[in-house]
Structures are given as structure tokens and as C-alpha cells.
Symmetry: C2
Subunit: 329 residues, 2 copies
């Protein structure tokens, strides 16, 4: 039985952040919405003595010939060793026989990609089609990838950025102006970014809410993708309550790892909260934006279904290109 | 960063079912006993439409330089396709940096091995040192491996076997007489095996209890390794209650997946039940057998700590032998 091994270099070459990657995310969310996905809770290994954590996600999707087992690792003492904190891999199993078909030694690249693709999908589903400006909070890798993906689904003419460190925001603006071919400008405060932008993407690991209710304005869309742990929180409870429509990638995860948790705890949202899943909107079982004045907010925590969809997409591209090393296992 | 890829063939050659494998199991259980292991609950992906399941286990062990992420798959329609039902793989991450060090494409071999090694460890810890006869219920792969491993820790002179299918038991007896070099005889009933044997190992996927209380006798040791799911049960509740000492690999798992569950449900054991973990005995925090007349019973459900220990053991052997293929990832 041959197993295909693909490296990060090969995967970066094979699987760009393009519409096909966003469509792969859409397949994952449609499957969740149509009840065609079986997705168990995340397995979290927290290694306090190493200042580290490993999260494992998986999902079976009826209609996709493989399933992924994806591990994401964060070893936060790595930078002192000259290594990136985050890494990971995906194993790709046949959904028919369970045999390992491929191992994607991506060091986390496909997770970064599918996370950005889900952000673009959220905007494609929920943001006004005439949204012209995007604002991003945070200046890290996802701040870059989210806006790169967003530009593929909305006619952006300007990007605004705020980060805790002004020099990082300056560097982001210079670099992304080059990369995107449109003006990318810094703002002095998160408030200024959120007040001005048609679409806001929050990409920080903040433990205290940043986005406040009175910064939001009619017609806006917000994607909150930073919180993925029970101690993180980017959006103030009152800001969630102000949204016309709150959407989650997975309600069960948002209740424990995402923005629903602090909003319910603060009493700003009822329990169960008034929210729907992105997949339900995509397959017509729930409404998203209903007017140009709605404020939509989408909380993304990351799902195993996305991992299975991007892994199958990557493997199809690798098989077509004949890339990767075959091991007779 | 190089990643070592090892195939099933290489791993079978490198990692035999020997005392070193049993010692690796002991390292895992000592770590659990000493609180040096961090072991989250099993992630179970049940794929009813495919008649399949995938279980994912992992554990960090202070003192072992790697951690394993282990997937075991059971795709029960595979035999109709000419493929084995069970398969799996292990990914081996550096416990210091989280980077993938190796992928063990073992198709489940190391899981089989570490499961048998844990059975032998249970007997080494709990059975009378003068135990001369072993009885096995079931005739599958673990029925073979458990007895093979057991023979390395106790001076067996005879093995008795019972299985639901008489022809399978006959085949087992013939094959294992050759393999072990001691007489292996069939018996007509599970009762006859249990009544006669000094050590009993139960290896069936039974959903109804097989071993009854009045079959047990003073001085006996029983290892129950078949049950690893909420619907399985090999040992009658009253038989558990009759044991002088009940030992588990992991109490939390035995309560949900193992033999404690039906015994408590039947009211034959109190809740919490009078039981200790194998690791607590190994590190001197609990007593096991206290006399030659005690009846000891050990329930094994399979732990991520065992996977980490056997994966690190396998990788050390592979590194020493220079076996496996290096991929520059």
C-alpha cells in the first residue's frame, strides 16, 4: 500500500491561497450544515511544564474520499531556540478503508491556509457585496493571510491595520501594500480601524476584549478568528449583543473556545444564544445578512471538517501533479 | 528538519515483542503512577455510515523525549475487500519543540505490540511468580501475542485455549504449540479454561460477560484486555466483585470503556469502585497481590502513555540502526 509523503515546500507550491482553497472551506461548511459531517470534539493536550499545547482535530465528511487527522502544536518556548512556536501535520486516511493514503508534513501551513480561507468564506457569505475597505486587528501571519484571502472575494480598495506594536503595524502596512497592490494604512487605535472599515477581521490572541459595541456601524461585517481557547476574547460582550446576526463556524466550539463564552457569561447573550452556523446559511437552512444595514459577526474557532476538506484538496492536487514521495508501507 | 519515515516491515524487524517492549510499557505505567504523564481523554470518531471508527490517543511523559499521536482505525467492511479491518499509524513529535521527528506507518503493529506488552506487565506485577499455566479466551491476534508476551515473564508449562469457533481454537493450539514450544490445548468451554489456569487472559470483543464468579479460584490472576468500548464486557459483575484486588490501566477509562462500567451498573461494585491503577502499584503507592491466595484482576483499555512509550522505544531503535527513510521537511 503506497503512502504519499508531502513536505511543506511541496505543499506551499501545490496549494495556494486561492478561490479553490476557499471553495474547499465551503465544502466543509456545507457538509456541516447538511449534517454530512461527523466531527468529534477537539482533543487538547496541554503540556504546562513545556509551555506547550497540541490540538488534534478530525472529521469525516460524506462525499469526500479521505479524512484528515490534524495536529497543531504550539510550543511557546521555541522562539528562544530559533524555531517557530507553531507547527503541525496532517495524516490523510481513506474514508473507505481507513488506510493511510498520505502524510502532509506541512508544519502547520495547511492550517494557516484553511483558517484564512474560512475567513474569506465568512465574508463571501455575510459581508455586503460592495464592501470596499477592510480593517485588521493584529499584525501576525493570519492578519496577512486573512486580508489576502478576503481580497479574492470582495472588491477591496483600502486596508487599515492596528496592532499593539506600532512598528509591527508599520511593517505590515509597507509589506501588504506591496503584496496586495492597494493602499494599506495604519491607524492609531483599534477603534479608528473598526469605525472606518466595511469589513473587520480580528486576528489577535487577546484575553481582554478589544472591539467595543459603539465602534460598530450599520452594514458592517466582522470576522473574529483570534479566539480558539477558553481564556481568549477579542469582542466585547455588548458588541456581540449589538450584532444583527451572530454566526459561528461551530456553535458547540464557540460556546467553549470562542466569543459566545464571555458574552453569555457577561449576561449580554441569552443561553442558548441567538446564533446560527455558517454551514446552515450556506445550505439555506438559516438566513445571514438580510439588509445592507445589518451588522453581521462571524466567530471562527477552526473545525476538523476544514482540515479534512483542505487535506483532500491538497492530496488531489498532489496526485494530479505526481508530487511527493511514495513510500511502500 | 528531517523526518524519519518507518514502514510496518521495518518496525516489525526493529521492534520485537521482547522484554524491552514490556519495559517500555512499564515506563508508561510508572509515569502515570508518579503523575509524570499528561494524558487527555481518547478522541473517538465513530463513522456509522462506513461501519468504522478511528480512535486517537496521545500522552506527554516527563522523561521521554518524544510524544506520540496514535490513530487506530477499525473499518469493519474491509474484510469483504480483502483488507484487514484494523490499521493505524503513529506520529512522533519532539516533546521539546513539537516538531515531527518521525512517522511510523505501522498499520497498527505497534498498538498490537504495546497491548500485549501491557498484558505481560500486568501479570509480571500481579500474578504469582510460580504461575505455570495460562488460559486464553479468544483465538485472534491478541490471543497469540498476549501469551507470547506472558511467557517472557512467567515460567509457563502449559496453555489452554477456548474460542467461540472450535476450529479456530484447534488452529490456535496447533500453531501456538509450535511457536511457544510448550503444550497448547483446547478446552470445550470458557469455564474449563478459567477453572484450570493459573493466569487467564481474556481477548474477546464480547458484549455479554463470559467469565463467571464461581469459575475463579484462589491464587489466580486475570487480565481482561478485550473491552475498550462502552458496549463491551467480558467479565461478569459478580466475578469482578469476587476479585481480592481490581487493578486498571486507567480508572477513568475503565469506568467508561472497560469492565468497571457494567459491574457498577449491576450494583456489584460501589461507585467509586475499590480499584487502583497499575502504575500506582508499580511505583509503590498502592498494593497489588498480598498473598498467594489473592485473586487479582487487571482491566486494560489501552492508554496513550503506552503509545508514547513504545513510539519512543521504536524511534530509538530506528535511530541506532539507521533504519527508515529521512525526508527533508
Amino acid at each position: 500500500m503506497n503512502v504519499r509523503i508531502l513536505t511543506e515546500r511541496e505543499l506551499r507550491h501545490l496549494v495556494p491561497l486561492d478561490l479553490a482553497a476557499i471553495d474547499a472551506a465551503e465544502r466543509a461548511f456545507r457538509a456541516l450544515g447538511e449534517g454530512r459531517a461527523i466531527q468529534p470534539p477537539v482533543l487538547a493536550l496541554e503540556i504546562a511544564p513545556r509551555n506547550a499545547e497540541v490540538d488534534i482535530k478530525t472529521a469525516y465528511i460524506d462525499g469526500i474520499p479521505q479524512l484528515a487527522i490534524k495536529a497543531s502544536s504550539g510550543f511557546f518556548d521555541n522562539p528562544a531556540r530559533g524555531l517557530p512556536s507553531l507547527s503541525g501535520f496532517m495524516a490523510v486516511l481513506s474514508a473507505e478503508t481507513g488506510r493511510v493514503e498520505a502524510v502532509l508534513l506541512d508544519n502547520g501551513y495547511l492550517t494557516d491556509l484553511r483558517t484564512a480561507a474560512a475567513g474569506a468564506l465568512a465574508a463571501r457569505t455575510l459581508a455586503r457585496t460592495d464592501a470596499r475597505s477592510a480593517g485588521v486587528l493584529g499584525t501576525g501571519l493570519q492578519a496577512r493571510l486573512q486580508i489576502e484571502a478576503l481580497k479574492r472575494v470582495r472588491p477591496l480598495e483600502k486596508v487599515l491595520v492596528w496592532g499593539r506594536r506600532a512598528d509591527a503595524a508599520q511593517a505590515y502596512a509597507a509589506e501588504m501594500t506591496q503584496c496586495l497592490g492597494i493602499p494599506v494604512e495604519t491607524r492609531d487605535s483599534a477603534a479608528a480601524v473598526v469605525r472606518e472599515a466595511d469589513i473587520v477581521v480580528t486576528t489577535t490572541p487577546s484575553r481582554e476584549p478589544i472591539v467595543q459595541a459603539d465602534w460598530l456601524h450599520a452594514g458592517q461585517h466582522v470576522t473574529a478568528m483570534g479566539s480558539d481557547a477558553p481564556y481568549k476574547n477579542e469582542i466585547a460582550p455588548a458588541a456581540l449583543a449589538r450584532a444583527t446576526r451572530i454566526v459561528c463556524d461551530r456553535i458547540a466550539q464557540s460556546l467553549t473556545l470562542g466569543e459566545l463564552r464571555p458574552a453569555i457569561a457577561a449576561g449580554c447573550l441569552s443561553s442558548p444564544p441567538p446564533t446560527v452556523e455558517l454551514g446552515a446559511i450556506l445550505c439555506g437552512n438559516a438566513t445571514g445578512r438580510t439588509s445592507d444595514r445589518d451588522i453581521t459577526l462571524c466567530d471562527l474557532t477552526g473545525t476538523g471538517a476544514q482540515d479534512t476538506a483542505i487535506a483532500a484538496h491538497a492530496l488531489a492536487l498532489a496526485n494530479a501533479a505526481g508530487l511527493g514521495q511514495e513510500i511502500d508501507a
